[in-house]
């Protein structure tokens, strides 16, 4: 009887959830777990909003996944029905933002050289250890992009490192197209450059061809689109004049947008400025090509350069172009004078800071050098704490177009909060809890892998506890002449 009623209750709950999700429509993708109205509050010893003074004995209120109030416990009232994480011994910080990574994917690179029609959504593995590790190191927003071994790569997306499906993880779909100005394996620089330029020429020819077909009165592209099952209703059925700052195709308004080849469409989005570009430069000389491509095709304003550590030498060029950059995880580069063989160390973030170029730090994945460590290295090299923390919070948030959404603890931002045992830039501090969108998603006290790593605790059932074999007392005589023959 009791079982029956429990099941009934469950079914009601499920139906209710399905209805809610249905009503919310697409918006549930943005915050899969926090339903509108769900309330969560954090009370911490110190709240570092990173958008003003630190607040002792502070309170953060999160409703429907968004921060609604931050302030001193004296000023901010916690709603009576909010779930409260009361941790006066901990400090609250906004979650760190990883501006660019190719981790968390099944395989980071597609062998097809020009593949803007791909989407990392199909490759992200929600249960990859990488995402778990993000939480441990306090990263709550991750921009996943295809690897650097491409010419034009997939469309990337911004995710949070928590959720059982990619949809649950989603923060922002179509977070840009990955391009590489550095030659992929087996290509010369010239071939790379030519293929890259050729991709945009290809787009232009395709669009011109579509316009010509329309002018000729044939409907091949429409039939092809219908044959492929593409959407030609609504906006997709209408034509729009080309909106590019680079080049234009006269008469594109004649072509319904749904008729543009799917394989070319993401490139058109790029040229028309609807998605940003993440252009990898593997050497200083690649920067010029990257800027040329971006500027010729009208998306310079929406370009972020993903730089190898050698690219500090092109800092002047980058400053002139006014683009933002994501730095390599190697922060200190050793340069050698080819004549004197004298070595010199260059602290790369320092170069970009001096030139006034907005830069985001990036983690060295799978090592100890996560974002907190990179920020700490900046302090060791003379940055202020605020500057160093900005390079892992506010600046990457701006670069991702998520300013005010992530990277600070301010009203209106996503409810992403780290609770640390102390200064997050200290080796002896730990991320104790992580809250994402008002959900507690990480608790170090129950993190078996961290216990394994830090305390050598072998989780039960994962390894046989081999007993040390008994060493019997050897009663044989001391080895003499036959010693060597044993």
């Amino acid at each position: 009887m009791i079982q029956q009623s429990t099941r009934l209750l469950q079914r009601i709950a499920q139906t209710h959830l399905a209805l809610t999700l249905g009503l919310l429509g697409c918006s549930f993708l943005l915050s899969a777990q926090a339903e509108a109205g769900e309330k969560y509050a954090v009370r911490a010893g110190i709240v570092h909003t990173l958008a003003g003074e630190a607040i002792p004995n502070g309170v953060i209120v999160i409703e429907g996944g968004r921060i609604t109030a931050v302030g001193s416990a004296d000023d901010v009232k916690i709603p009576w029905d909010a779930e409260v994480l009361d941790v006066p011994h901990l400090e609250a910080y906004p979650g760190f933002v990883e501006a660019h990574t190719s981790s968390g994917m099944d395989r980071p690179n597609e062998s097809v050289s020009v593949a803007p029609f791909l989407n990392v959504r199909d490759s992200i593995d929600p249960v990859a250890f990488y995402f778990e590790d993000c939480l441990r190191s306090g990263i709550t927003t991750v921009n996943v992009q295809q690897g650097n071994a491409c010419i034009i790569g997939a469309v990337g997306m911004v995710v949070k490192p928590h959720g059982m499906t990619v949809e649950e993880m989603l923060v922002r779909p179509r977070a840009g197209l990955k391009i590489s100005a550095a030659p992929k394996s087996g290509m010369s620089r010239a071939t790379q450059a030519q293929t890259l330029r050729g991709a945009f020429t290809g787009l232009r020819l395709h669009l011109e061809d579509l316009v010509q077909q329309k002018r000729n009165g044939n409907d091949f592209s429409r039939r092809e689109a219908l044959y492929q099952g593409r959407d030609l209703a609504g906006e997709r059925g209408k034509g729009r004049a080309m909106m590019s700052k680079g080049w234009t195709v006269e008469g594109l308004e004649l072509v319904p947008r749904g008729e543009v080849d799917e394989k070319q469409e993401p490139l058109l989005d790029l040229v028309e400025g609807r998605v940003p570009a993440w252009i990898y430069c593997g050497a200083p000389m690649d920067v010029r090509l990257a800027l040329e491509i971006a500027s010729d095709n009208g998306f310079l304003e929406r370009t972020v350069l993903v730089l190898d550590d050698s690219c500090w030498k092109a800092a002047d060029l980058i400053a002139e172009a006014g683009v933002s950059v994501v730095l390599d995880s190697t922060l200190v580069r050793t340069e050698m004078d080819p004549k004197t063989e004298e070595e010199e160390e260059v602290f790369i973030p320092g170069v970009f800071k001096d030139k006034g170029i907005p830069f985001a730090l990036s983690s060295r994945n799978s090592t100890t050098e996560s974002l907190w460590f990179q920020a700490a290295m900046c302090v060791a090299h003379g940055f202020t704490r605020a500057e160093a923390l900005a390079a892992v919070t506010a600046t990457p948030a701006n670069i991702l177009g998520l300013e005010g959404e992530v990277g600070c603890l301010c009203p209106g931002a996503a409810g992403n909060v780290l609770l640390t045992s102390g200064d997050p830039l200290s080796v002896t501090s730990f991320v104790e809890y992580v809250v994402i969108d008002g959900n507690l998603v990480y608790d170090r006290s129950v993190d078996i892998r961290t216990q394994h790593l830090l305390e050598g605790v072998v989780p039960e059932g994962t390894e046989s506890h081999a007993e040390e074999p008994e060493v019997e007392e050897d009663t044989r005589k001391k080895a003499g002449d036959e010693g060597g023959s044993r």
């Binding site: 250890f129 590790d133 050497a283 200083p284 000389m285 920067v287 010029r288 050698s310 030498k313 092109a314 002047d316 060029l317 190697t330 922060l331 200190v332 580069r333 050793t334 340069e335 050698m336 080819p338 063989e341 070595e343 160390e345 799978s366 090592t367 100890t368 050098e369 996560s370 907190w372 460590f373 700490a376 290295m377 302090v379 060791a380 090299h381 830039l425 200290s426 080796v427 002896t428 394994h452 790593l453 830090l454 305390e455 050598g456 040390e468 060493v471 007392e473 050897d474 001391k478 080895a479 003499g480 002449d481 036959e482 010693g483 060597g484 044993r486």
Partner: protein
Amino acid sequence: MIWTSFLHAVCLTLCAPPLQDAVVVEQPQEPEAPKAQPAVVPVVPAADLRLHAERVYTGTGEILKNALIEVRDGKISSLRPGRSAPEGVLQVKAVTAGMIDLSARLHSNFNSVEQSTEVQPHLDVAGSVDLHDKRFARLARTGVTTILVNPLDRNVIGGRGVALKTHGPMEVEARRLNGRPILRGAIGSEPSAANHAAFGRPTDFYSRRPTTRMGVEWEWRKAFFDAVAAKRLPEKDFPGAEDLREALAGKRTVMIQAWTTQDIRTAVYLDEEMQREGFGDLDLVIDAGAEAWKEPGILVRNSTIVVLPPHTAGGRVGSDGAFLAWNTASLLVGEGLTVCLSAHGAGPGSATLGHQAGFAMRGGLSFDQALAAVTSAPASVLGLSERLGTVHEGMDADLALWNGRPFAATSRVTGVLIDGVIVVDPR
């Protein structure tokens, strides 16, 4: 500008660290007793130097505030706390002794491996050291002032390591630190890696033994048994036998690379077998003993010293897939063992030896213990405690100058003194 950068980049590629030109040759050596170390002559005669530090971490548990350090003839001539900084004197936030890496892996390439047999206790790696290697200077810039250079672990017993300052005279003999001699070898998969049996394919260089872990262990035991046997039967003598007998007599330290718990066991059991047979007692140091945390008991009963490899985010480290828990150093020190840390030669831009000390603190080691693990503990392994590893009068003026609290991720080594010479100027 792009073109100059390109040329620069090309040059950098071409000018990668040079391979050593010297090849190890068999050098039958008279085993020499540790002798008194002659004073090292710095490249330039050390100018008398004064240095003022807000804090000096002496390495003996003391922190001296506002200390004035005077250096004369490459040695610390005086150390006086509670002084204000005189005009024009070099001022720094913090000073520790220069760090010592016993597993710097500086010459871990095939030029340091004599491959004619698996057991080469008589060779001295000094013969293959290239002092022009840029990595010495890179290590010096991270505050590492002394390193132990060992042969690559592709032999079972690779030979004798050489302790060197990371800056000094450009001759190995002039720069080497003659402390306690160290015999280097390995247990695990590395010495047999790439070897294969001679049948079924054309014979090549790798058609040799051992091809397994157990083969490696057998080589160790055979070497010691043979050495003991050869003492009675001179016709069975072989190069290196005397070195092995000296090791058994405890006159030189035996440093064995053993990453996993099974290999650490093998090393300790080897030592215990030697004791049972009455052959002697090895002075054993386990290098890269990542899994020492699993069975600290066997290390405690044998008073084995452990050198730990660098910490990694996932814990897995090294070619044998060992797991280094971050509390290993803390656990072993708690058991009363001597622990040294190593960055395996990481230079600036990566997790340096100073960072490793910080990571060990993340795993629970106290600051003083961490400091010891990168200074005084390795100094004592090298038998050079009289000269290195702590900051006080009469010690070598090997100092790491920090811009904040040592080992914090937010500070770094900004200056380095080696034998009183300013190798990296913090100004």
